[in-house]
Subunit: 343 residues, 2 copies
Amino acid sequence: MKKNTREIPAAKEPAVSRATSIDVARLAGVSQATVSRAFSPDSKILPSTREKVLAAARALKYTPDAIARSLISNSSNMVGVIMQNFNSPFYPKILSEISTHLQKFGKQILFFYSNTEDNMQQLIGQILQYRVDGIIITSAVLSSELAENCAALGIPVVLFNRYTTNLNVQAVCCDNIQAGRDCADYLLQKGYRRFGYVASSENASTSLDRQKGFLDRLREHGILDCPVYQSDFSYEAGAQIVEELLASSKLPEALFCANDMIAAGVIDTARHKYSLRIPEDLAVVGFDNIPMASYSSYQITSFSQPTEDMIQAALQIILEPRKRNSVSNLRLFPCTLVERRTT
Amino acid sequence: MKKNTREIPAAKEPAVSRATSIDVARLAGVSQATVSRAFSPDSKILPSTREKVLAAARALKYTPDAIARSLISNSSNMVGVIMQNFNSPFYPKILSEISTHLQKFGKQILFFYSNTEDNMQQLIGQILQYRVDGIIITSAVLSSELAENCAALGIPVVLFNRYTTNLNVQAVCCDNIQAGRDCADYLLQKGYRRFGYVASSENASTSLDRQKGFLDRLREHGILDCPVYQSDFSYEAGAQIVEELLASSKLPEALFCANDMIAAGVIDTARHKYSLRIPEDLAVVGFDNIPMASYSSYQITSFSQPTEDMIQAALQIILEPRKRNSVSNLRLFPCTLVERRTT
DNA sequence: ATTGTTTTTGTATTCGTATTCATCTTGATA
DNA sequence: TATCAAGATGAATACGAATACAAAAACAAT
């Protein structure tokens, strides 16, 4: 008597319907409430009753409806994730790891990809409609207004690899300023004296902070002149930068790139189009230490972020929001330099 | 009158609560039903009334609750996506494009990453609980049982870059067999006579079909012997294959790799570790034509899939399931060879 | 045996919105 | 002006599961 009424002839009605807790209750000879309890692990129910209910549920292929459950419990068990720039494998890797982690908790990912920051308002709005447990953003900084909207709903927001001074928004980030400093120290110690920095065109705090640490430290060592080249986080941008470098009067000795994709573009173009020797004619440092940085075609000296720890931190903020009494909203993680053959 | 009975003392309650359609109705002086109608584009409502309601909604920062909406309308506006292998940028790219497309329709992505096929049952189960509009799977073939579960619920499932003979599952795929044939023709025409194929270790139909087309065509040309090397879809696997090649007695003249990542691993290791010349000592063909294939360090001859068309086809199946009267459940797209410097 | 306590189950309500049906308003037409 | 149709709105209900509360059952202690 279920919905075994499939296609008879002519009409191909899929007979879409799933068993509900009431169906299971009827079959098991209990009330709907008892069915609900059977599926709530920490609910008080006689083991024998639970087993009876679960048997009936199996027979009917019943599974609690997540939507109905979300409505009454005010939580959808979903975590919103907004990302941009899949040109580099860095963020896809982060996404896959977040997914793997969340699956352990039975949580889902509501995913959004957006290369522009214009529609953040809209995206956040959509996500909030779904009663997510939290939101992870790697693509942009959040406006105060949006941050307040989320805070007002009690939905934790984590900026991943971004941060803001806004008090309502938690951030998990690697210490890009320090990494910039370390890069300057490292290159100076290697004997380089003329530098350049390849930034991303956005107002990404990652790129800006790496730049700031780098330039500050150089300045402390008396090097006041370090040209900054605007790009985006792409291979093509890196290739373009080489053209700019060569068009200008004098080539820097060492170039610090905001990420590995840029570095790869620089290296390839310098080597294969202009026959420059890396690192003799031009040293290059990248960032993120993506797999490609270790390929023998590149062997890029790069900074590695402790992504595993950062993800843990981000998820903890979302999964255990009570612990929000941490001193600061910003959790900084140190990067480590991986020296290879481009310096 | 809500359930504002939380912890009282010393607590900084965020006052978690969002405006509901009833709140809006009260402020606008209409019924809840009218508020609902104001937010349903094709609903019959006096324009002036709608404007009045929308104004009240703005004042209260009200947005229809997607969960409640999903419950009553039996559709969550979400599309489930299951992927694996983010080592290559191929699938991240697909994901970002799917996301961009779906956003135009106001649809969301419920995302799962899984490198194993063991938990497909569990993943599909979870997705189905959310009343998704459809499911896109790039990571595995679906068992008949799971396919039937989905079909019974009227939820369209699309295998992307996979297929099965199961009647209930739609599939969107590039014509890997033909591509394999084309590759054989191309390499033969270039004068190569000794070949090898680097497969993925999985039972991925993509790899198997490329292999089948390749070997079949070679056989038609009288070449019966073509060793097949097992790997996975990774750079490291490609690097490993070179070791195997050199351990065996004679090197093939041309190697067809199941994807570009493998090809890159082969090329790098052959060139830099063993000083082999590509393509003189070893020609290499990849697959997917990922951005890296065009980098000047590689310049890999590769097959390009019409991903844009394939995504369109997959989304059409999910967004317009009525059109399911297509002749076949399998939609095949042709790949095109992009010739570069590794052949 | 009686009372009290604890555990288990059932009843009724709730979450927030869409929708059916009935009611009311408006304007048109005869 | 009376009648009707069409359009707009409100009242009530449904979606499916969780939970507060009540009732019942089981058990212990006197």
